[in-house]
Amino acid sequence: MPAVSICTDAFRITAEAMARTYGFPGFQYVSVPHPVASLSAEGIRQRVEEMLPRVLEILGVEE
């Protein structure tokens, strides 16, 4: 099943290190502003709406 990795911008260095570890430098993933753990439901909804175009882009969905 096609999948997209999502992480907050605080974890970009780790995400890129993990991608190199697996032999995929430049692996595409979605990064969202940090933090998310303390957001309200409305705050989470906003994050999802903001990231959705990028998720679809990585999945190769054409509008």
């Binding site: 974890f11 260095i13 780790t14 290190a17 993990m18 570890t21 697996y22 439901a41």
Partner: protein, 351 residues
């Protein structure tokens, strides 16, 4: 620079240190450690599939040399890796976590005397080569063999000073009870290492009382704190100084009585949890959340008469050991990720 300094600086330039200088390792130095154990140098001691990396006996030996271990320490280092594998948290990725844990190694048995593992004064502090370098060997291996360097694959938000080294002996000679490894089926003449995933070490200042319940309630105040709670409940290794252990034993308390009492007294009323916004548990992540969180589920405590929870998972989640000097009433609570009621990872050191 002289040749020794050049070699040390080379190790820094290659990124092979924890910030302190390392002992440069050549083939002969590593072979001297490998000769002390009956293990294939290519045997995998700990695998991290999520990183495509593994710690082999050889990599553990090279890093033990770099940490400053003598060859005769290596059987303890290998037992520490066997214990870490059994304990389970490192393999699940805890060393990469934002929580920033360290690995506490508890050493039991005659090997303490043979190698000079400190189990008495300044237990968690510096001054003892075996404690300093056996604990450091694990961290250097994690950094160099697994690539768990800070700001990269080690995502610790703050970490703990215990990440440099955390290796202690149990003070069996001054304990009123039988040692941990004997509690778990080994012979007194066996040596053992027990690895625990730890967060904080908290001091308990209790020089004021001869009353067992007062002493243990003082300890329990550090067990029942909301700041320790990420998930529903937690666990601890309570390191009693000999004076405290004797106070309890003289009044007829066994270790299991101490664990049971500390568990009972680790009760936090719901309003204390609510004040910290941790009055419920997320049905999805099982992290503690506020009652008004959309995924919140109230977790009933085991005592229907009181609304609240015991911070300790069970009496078995409170591991009691004895260590430190016989000179005062100072004990420690080591906050751990395990055991959660299962057997601690007591691992025999090969003779």
């Amino acid at each position: 620079m002289n040749p020794t300094q050049r070699a040390i600086e080379h190790c820094y330039a290659e990124g092979w240190t924890d910030g302190l200088p390392v002992v440069p390792c050549d083939r002969a130095a590593a072979e001297a450690l490998l000769a002390r154990v009956d293990r294939d140098p290519d045997e995998v001691l700990l695998e991290m599939p999520q990183l495509n990396r593994a710690v082999t006996v050889r990599l553990a030996a090279v890093n033990a040399v770099m940490a400053g271990c003598l060859p005769e320490y290596f059987p303890v280092v290998v037992a520490a890796w066997d214990s870490l594998r059994e304990e389970g948290y490192p393999r699940k990725g805890i060393w990469q976590s934002t929580t920033g844990t360290a690995s506490l190694l508890l050493v039991n048995g005659p090997v303490r005397g043979e190698l000079g593992v400190n189990s008495q004064g300044n237990l968690f502090g510096p001054g003892f080569r075996a404690n300093a370098t056996i604990g450091r060997a694990v961290r250097l291996t994690a950094m160099n063999a697994l690539g768990l360097r800070p700001h990269e694959l080690d995502q610790a938000t703050q970490g703990t000073p215990a990440k440099y080294t955390a290796c202690i002996g149990e003070n069996e000679e001054e304990s009123p009870w039988q040692p941990l490894h004997v509690d778990h089926g080994l012979a007194p003449e066996d040596s053992a290492v027990t690895a625990m995933t730890m967060r904080s070490t908290l001091h308990i200042e209790a020089r004021h009382t001869r009353v067992p319940e007062q002493l243990l309630d003082d300890v329990a105040g550090s067990l029942a704190r909301t700041g320790a709670l990420l998930h529903q409940t937690v666990s601890a290794c309570v390191v009693l100084c000999p004076e405290h252990a004797h106070l309890l034993a003289d009044a007829g308390w066994a270790k299991r009585d101490v664990s049971r009492y500390l568990y009972e007294q680790s009760f936090l009323p719901r309003e204390a949890l609510d004040r910290a916004g941790k009055g419920a548990v997320s049905a999805k992540s099982h992290w503690r959340v506020a009652r008004d969180h959309p995924d919140a589920v109230l977790d009933p405590g085991p005592d229907p008469a009181r609304d609240g929870i015991h911070t300790m998972t069970s009496p078995d989640a409170v591991l009691v050991v004895v260590a430190g000097a016989s000179n005062s009433g100072v004990s420690a609570v080591v906050e751990t990720f395990g055991p959660r009621g299962n057997r601690p990872a007591v691992t025999r050191v090969a003779a």
